[in-house]
Symmetry: C2
Subunit: 463 residues, 2 copies
């Protein structure tokens, strides 16, 4: 710590944390960790800095590099796999003071944002432009954090994940040097110029550098939206409907699955009366006319698969009411056991494997007496179990941990991945090794060693 207080004299951003008297650390750590919603134990850094520019981030990184201090980038702390824990202490770079929306190009459908800008903040900024940024992981996460964790969410089936929507990144490397992954200021919609550095940093979870700016692809706000809900006799019937909807080319914007337990929880939480059965929530974006057809085709498909209680909504208010169940799933799950905490685990498998893995997972939950309603982005084969548990019940915590590992291995056995969108962080490092195999892990380790030879960038995560 003495070394850190010494550093405060060099950089204004350091002073703004520690102050001249060096006492504000406690508050900084609380700020950093109060919002980590994962079950991972709080691992505070030694100090938090709030740089205000890429130059300050670079200067701070150079000092950390010189003194072998770990660097932990921090956006909004909404990640779920312990990505912001400071396992080896060090300096947390909280980036909330870099919060400008830069360089909006309406005609080119792109915008650049600093790391303090959240997805809701950006969409609010874009309100009068007819454009929006669709990637929506649920939380109001920072967009640079979403790039760092390769976030996706409900809209990914139509608009892709962060991987498909980041055009360029400004990154401060471990030694303080500043790079632009697609070249400074560049924003073509496609490129084949050299190695794809942009997508090397997207999903690197702060282990390769600090993302200080991201250039994003934007979309025209759809002329109209329609939402629908439909109940199915089985998981298989819901998945079959999903496959057939995708097969026909309906450009569906959202297709979300909730299992019977999740629906039951939502009914209780929101005083709703959905049938307690596997359910799909759908959303269609397009012109008024095209929506009619999308809905008709989808309704025919769901009916042919035994779907019933197909209800749909066109105006914003009714759509909001319809989706309330899905949007409040997290809180509805928590309400199943008051006083408990929740942890959302995530896997992703090829579509055809969904019925098998969901049925087996539900049996596993029952067998082990665990509460884990299921909600998922079924169009991508991605789903979550929201594990509701008593964090003081050590036995239950262990059973949840063992369950999530079994779930991930079940996904791996079905050609899937241990994480579709939450990332590896702290919690899934061992599973990543099983997923990738030793040689691919060696390649990842080689890349990490090249970019961060001192292992200072968010150490102990991913690999």
């Amino acid at each position: 710590m003495a070394k850190l207080f010494l550093l405060c004299r060099v950089i204004p951003a350091f002073r703004s944390v520690c102050g001249e008297d060096g006492v504000s650390l406690g508050a900084a750590v609380r700020e950093q960790h109060g919002r980590d919603e994962s079950v991972h134990r709080c691992r505070p850094p030694d100090v938090v800095v709030w740089p205000r520019s890429v130059e300050e981030v670079s200067a701070l990184a150079k000092i950390c590099h010189h003194h072998h201090l770990p660097i932990i980038p921090f956006g909004t702390g909404t990640g779920l796999e312990g990505g912001v824990g400071a396992l080896k202490g060090g300096v947390c770079f909280s980036l909330r003071n870099m919060d400008r929306v830069l360089d909006l190009h309406q005609e080119d459908f792109d915008v650049s944002v600093e790391p303090g800008v959240t997805r809701k903040g950006l969409n609010s900024y874009l309100r009068d432009t007819g454009l929006w940024f669709p990637v929506d992981p649920g939380a109001d996460a920072s967009l640079c954090g979403m790039a760092a964790t390769s976030a996706s969410g409900t809209n990914a089936v139509r608009y892709g994940t962060m991987r498909e929507n980041v055009l360029n990144l400004e990154v401060v490397l471990a030694d303080g040097s500043i790079i632009h992954t697609a070249g400074r200021g560049r924003r073509p919609r496609k490129t084949s110029a050299g190695y794809n550095l942009t997508n090397l940093f997207v999903g690197s979870e702060g282990t390769l550098g600090v993302i200080t700016k991201t250039t994003l692809r934007l979309y025209g706000v759809p002329e109209a939206m329609v939402s629908a809900v439909c109940t199915f006799p089985s998981v298989q019937a819901a998945v079959d409907s999903t496959v057939q909807v995708l097969q026909t080319g309906v450009p569906i914007a959202r297709i979300e699955f909730l299992d019977d337990v999740m629906i039951d929880a939502c009914n209780s939480f929101n005083s709703l009366a959905y049938p307690v059965a596997p359910t799909l929530f759908l959303e269609f974006h397009g012109t008024e006319k095209s929506l009619e057809e999308q809905v008709t085709v989808t309704e025919e498909i769901t009916q042919a698969n035994g779907g019933s209680d197909f209800s749909w909504a066109r105006d914003a208010e009714t759509r909001g009411r319809l989706w309330k169940a899905r949007h409040d799933a997290w809180y509805a799950a928590l309400a199943l056991r008051p006083g408990c905490k929740a942890y959302s685990t995530d896997v992703c498998v090829p579509l055809s494997r969904l019925p098998q893995i969901i049925v087996e997972t539900k049996e596993d939950l029952m067998l082990n007496g665990l509460t884990g309603p299921i909600a998922g982005h079924v169009g991508d084969g991605n789903f979550h179990c929201i594990m509701v548990m008593d964090p003081n019940d050590q036995d239950e915590v262990i059973r949840v941990h063992e369950f999530t590992e079994r779930l991930a291995r079940r996904a791996l056995a079905l050609d899937g991945t241990c994480t579709g969108e939450h990332g590896v962080g702290l919690g899934k490092r061992a599973l990543l090794r099983e997923e990738m195999g030793p040689l691919a892990i060696e390649v990842m380790q080689g890349l990490k060693a090249t970019l961060d030879p001192k292992n200072l960038m968010n150490p102990g995560k991913v690999l």
Copy 2:
């Protein structure tokens, strides 16, 4: 060469090239280089091998690695930037004998292919499944080669490029080790598990490893297609129409721009009578009903921008006739100067910069007495000048070279890239440095050194 003939005794694949008498090299080199359509000088390898399995590729790579022999992967040789030239001699790995379509999963919309499978070959294989693979760079390239060069083409505006459509790659590294970039056999539609190795190898142009298998995302064949052609008073009017079509969310499948010179060439070549003016060729995919609306909206937009002679076609034959001009653009350009050769150069800029760069480029062509009709994937801001020149006229060759450099620098000055889809290869290495800046190039060099410390993989390309 003595060393290579010695090697022939070890590996059957080597024997199949050199034979026991070691004389078939000439034919092999001709096979390799007969199809390189770029203007880059033929640089033959010392030997060509035709491995039949990933194990043979691995065994051959180990021998090359041990003896410090360069490895040049070869798919169909349809690349345009000299990517298959053997600058330092060495061993060309021709992969045409690995030509199986593997593991088609219709319900999951994915398939794996070996490197000998071309895009037309795959689509022919898929004919009865209701699925197709849309990425279409023009040439009937091998799909693994398309992954290696990050190919795209006319459909990218709707379906994305190879970057968005490769789920997994099997890669043999320089030392002969075999990795799977997303883990062996994995094919979830999305993942956030570890570094994105898949997209590090997509677009690496053979400089990081030999791609021996690629897992691709497939799409449902659209129920119907409609094509249209429309003439504009100016480049600006054509681009404005494009931006507005994208803005309204019309899910346009193709939107291709041809300049007046290109249209004139096409008219002559195919005895057509399109007005000699900036022209858009469009294609819409969807249901019968949705197509009507897409066409109506697009026609309204083009008319509001002064577009005229809007003609459209629904049945396959009329569509084929309509698109013939665009499809034959290469040969129409060549026919402008019989006996000459053509070289297609490519840049990509943000949409709003297209009018400026195209107008300036046409002036440049006129001023320097060069023949370079323009055709482009305008929905992505990507366009090509098809440079028709006399390869024996050294002065003209130099003027074309200088022109392509000016064109690339013009794209760079407008926030664009020196290559949207042809790659860097041999021809654009200096431009890549200007585009990326020295620090990002250093990062790329670091990645290359990590994966290929002896610089054996396609040396002298990209970096």
